[in-house]
Amino acid sequence: MIGDLDFEVIGRSLPYLLRGLQYTVQLTVVAALGGTFFGTLLAMARLSSFRPVSLTAAGYVNLMRSVPLLLVIFWFYFLAPVIVQSVMGWERPPQIGAERSAYITFIMFEAAYFCEIMRAGIQSISKGQVGAAFALGLNYWQAMKLVILPQAFRNMLPVLLTQTIVLFQDVSLVSLLNVTDFVGASVKIAQRDSRVVEMYAFVAVVYFILCYSLSTLVKQLQRRIAIIH
């Protein structure tokens, strides 16, 4: 079988594969942005001096970080609709669909990881900066939005991007919900044309090129930020 490789299968199925890759990139970007947004709110909640708020946020983050991603994906896809159905007293579970379910799952899951990054980012800003913002009359939200978070984002940008690269790879798990992401698309082609070796090799090479060049970029960025700082 190895001696009988046919890499033309890639060219033939390229438009289909690219559509899969497009979905993968879209899901990654949306999950990273949504995760950063909700993760930042979670981080602020975790750092709140009001215990019920900080404990709730901590509970959520610890739960998400302790459960395998695959299980979370299954939970949201198979069980969440049933739970919503029984809570709302509906006749049928809501039809969310695998693709939309994946968006919700990844935003909520990544929020927990981005929360921990942003928490470290916020804590990296000196208390004096907070004091100066307050002393000028800014309130908590203004101080966060204008003084603390912009600096926290900047300090944490390399880590946020590194987490996004990990996310880009993790997105491939949605192929188990039969979603046609990049991996899902190649699996389908591989099975249809019996070209498993070629397809899996191709997917691995593409992932390697993309992730390696992205992490090289992150490293350069890290150096630049370090110099300015």
Partner: protein, 242 residues
Amino acid sequence: MIEINNISKWYGSFQVLSDCTTSVKKGEVVVVCGPSGSGKSTLIKCVNALEPFQKGDIIVDGISVTDPKTNLSKLRARIGMVFQNFELFPHMRITDNLTLAQIKVLGRSREEAAARGLKMLERVGLKEQAHKFPGQLSGGQQQRVAIARALAMDPIAMLFDEPTSALDPEMINEVLDVMVELAKEGMTMMCVTHEMGFARKVAHRVIFMDQGRIVEDDTKDEFFGKPRSERAQQFLSKILHH
């Protein structure tokens, strides 16, 4: 203007401030000094409620900082504060450092805030630096910008928390000069500092603190003439003799 009435503060079981009472009248310059760990920085940060305290009250321009009905942000906006480590916002240009709170807190227009900010920057002699970032300025320049930033809010009083302690010796005077000028113009000032030359030149009163207590609260001449407490005498002889 500033009345500090019997305030006490604890970090857990450790008492940092014990029953401190003093006041600063309008136009008065009060220097707070004392050995490190004596609570002087904590005291000054209580004035605009950056540090909470458990007992007593502070009244600024007739408004209690402990009253839950007090709008603290509004009150803080009226009191300028200068920090030991400058605390300019490093991600913003000098102009934006100067205008941020004017726009967001006082509701001034961008043009009005920029004009006011530039005027204050000129006053501390740094007009040419307006478009730089804080990291591009020397420590002394950053501290002068920080003073300009506070002044741009048109404060009724200024608090200085060891404004020259983090500076290289050759930069101390440029900051003190600005402060002296402010004092001479009649600004109400409360300054935590070890700069006794500054105290001699412009202070009306000197407060000496030790172990969380106000040990001396004298006029400048009394304090430098002959402080009553032995602790203050020791402190003075130590910092004046080298």
